[in-house]
């Protein structure tokens, strides 16, 4: 068996990671078009002259970190204020999958990213913190808030269906 760093072709892996990278980008930008632009920039950087990944660790972690860094640069590290307040998380949309997705990424900044990294992709708080440049206890707080909001969304949808 060859060492991992010699068998992995980043361009091929990039294409296969696109759906996940795009999903993570959506949690950062909370906008489809901006997410696509961010993914494209990440891919350009990742295949450019300066490698973003040295073959150690997970390629996707390196890509996620790059995406978050680029997003911070774009926004000047100004955190975007939450566009939804408590009690306003549910839209008037019908309970379609698209509406659910929109509700999820419309959560206040950082909640969806932290939730995705830990609760969906099963990273530790420490690893998620590295990617998002946040302390593990901040990740813990965001996760608790995200879960509570998501549970409220689920309840809202259940009530609306009834």
């Amino acid at each position: 068996m060859r060492p991992a760093q010699e068998t992995i072709d980043i361009s091929r892996d990039l294409v296969s990671l696109l759906p996940r990278l795009r999903r993570f980008a959506l949690t950062l930008t909370r906008d489809g078009l901006q997410a696509d632009d961010l993914v494209e920039t990440v891919c350009e950087r990742a295949t450019g002259r300066q490698p973003v990944w040295n073959g150690h660790g997970r390629l996707e972690d390196a890509l996620y970190t790059l995406a978050r860094t680029l997003r911070d640069e774009t926004t000047g590290r100004k955190r975007i204020p939450a566009n939804l307040q408590d009690g306003q998380s549910s839209s008037e949309n019908t309970a379609t999958a698209g509406a659910v997705q929109q509700m999820i990424i419309s959560m206040p900044e950082g909640l969806a990213s932290a939730f995705l990294l830990v609760a969906v992709e099963h990273r530790t708080y420490r690893d998620a913190g590295r990617i998002l440049d946040l302390a593990p206890d901040v990740i813990a707080t965001k996760l608790a808030t995200a879960r509570a909001r998501l549970a409220s969304m689920a309840s809202d949808m259940t009530q609306r269906r009834a």
Binding site: R2, P3, Q5, E6, I8, D9, I10, S11, R12, L14, V15, S16, L18, P19, R20, R22, R23, L26, D36, V39, E40, C43, E44, T47, R49, P51, W53, N54, G55, H56, A97, V100, Q101, M103, I104, F115, L116, V118, A119, V120, T124, Y125, P136, A140, T141, L143, A144, T145, A146, R147, A148, R149, L150, A151, S152, M153, A154, S155
Partner: protein
């Protein structure tokens, strides 16, 4: 329980769900849950949020990546050869790795030569196994890719069959081998689309077909310096996969399919006639 709605309790329970608590904290929370119905309700509430969020995020993966985005990225990675380089660890570190691997291999041989022999053995009908680890060939990479991608029914191909002209242009440009997509309907195979692979460090086209049972067949080819125009076909088998390969001047080809396929040789002949 006092004040179970406070963020700190939610954060503790949330960390408990994630397995991010130490043994003492876990024991405390277990006791709390055992005696406090409100804490149990809150835990269920958080679990409900997790399940809802996880299913919502799963749905994101089923969204097709916009073709324009995939195309821009593919173009960016295909056109410039530097983009196709393998990203690896610093050379110095790689030497250390190889040195370590070599030392480990020698150790293995010394301690249990027969064990090393079995581990290094590959299944190839035409080549007797030797105790030396063989260099990987493009057929090894093609076989591995086939195993991986044939089990991705929703993401079998990069470009789907209806974009046949794009496939021809893209793969001809990428591999330097001109080709025609064979019509294998007489063999009850339906063209699904194509992928670009890297095999033995070279861009390699993979045309994918399915039979009526959903079994996946692939035609792979890459540029080769061979001048062999004999058309001699070499059959081999890797576990459950059969391979038939042949050369044409400037290119090498292989057909990969389930080893149980009847008339596999006839299929390869039909493909070779068209390619």
């Amino acid at each position: 329980m006092q004040n179970t709605k406070s963020p700190s309790i939610e954060a503790r329970l949330s960390a408990y769900l994630d397995g991010e608590v130490d043994e003492n904290e876990r024991r405390e929370i277990d006791q709390l849950l055992a005696r406090d119905a409100e804490a149990r309700r809150l835990l269920e509430h958080l679990k409900q949020g997790s399940a809802f969020g996880a299913s919502g995020f799963e749905a994101f993966l089923h969204d097709p990546v916009p073709l324009s985005l995939a195309r821009r990225i593919r173009q960016g990675t295909d056109i410039n050869p530097k983009h196709e380089r393998v990203v690896g660890a610093p050379r110095k570190q790689r030497r250390k790795l190889w040195r370590g691997a070599l030392a480990a291999s020698c150790g293995m041989l010394l301690i249990g030569g027969s064990t090393g022999y079995l581990i290094g053995r590959t299944i190839d009908d035409n080549t007797p196994p030797t105790p030396v680890v063989k260099a990987r060939t493009w057929l090894d990479d093609v076989t591995d890719a086939h195993r991986v991608y044939s089990r991705q029914p929703r993401h079998l191909v990069e470009v789907t069959a209806e974009n046949d002209e794009e496939i021809r242009n893209w793969l001809t440009a990428s591999t330097g081998v001109s080709f025609a997509i064979p019509d294998l309907s007489a063999n009850k195979l339906t063209f699904q689309g194509a992928r670009l692979l890297v095999a033995a460090g070279k861009p390699t086209a993979q045309l994918l077909f399915k039979d009526e049972d959903g079994e996946v067949y692939a035609i792979c080819f890459q540029r080769s310096p061979t001048t062999d125009d004999s058309g001699r076909m070499i059959e081999s088998m890797r576990d459950d996969l059969a391979l038939i390969s042949w050369n044409e001047p400037g290119a090498t080809y292989v057909v990969v399919g389930p080893s149980a396929t009847a008339n596999f040789k006839d299929l390869a002949d039909a493909i070779a006639d068209v390619m």
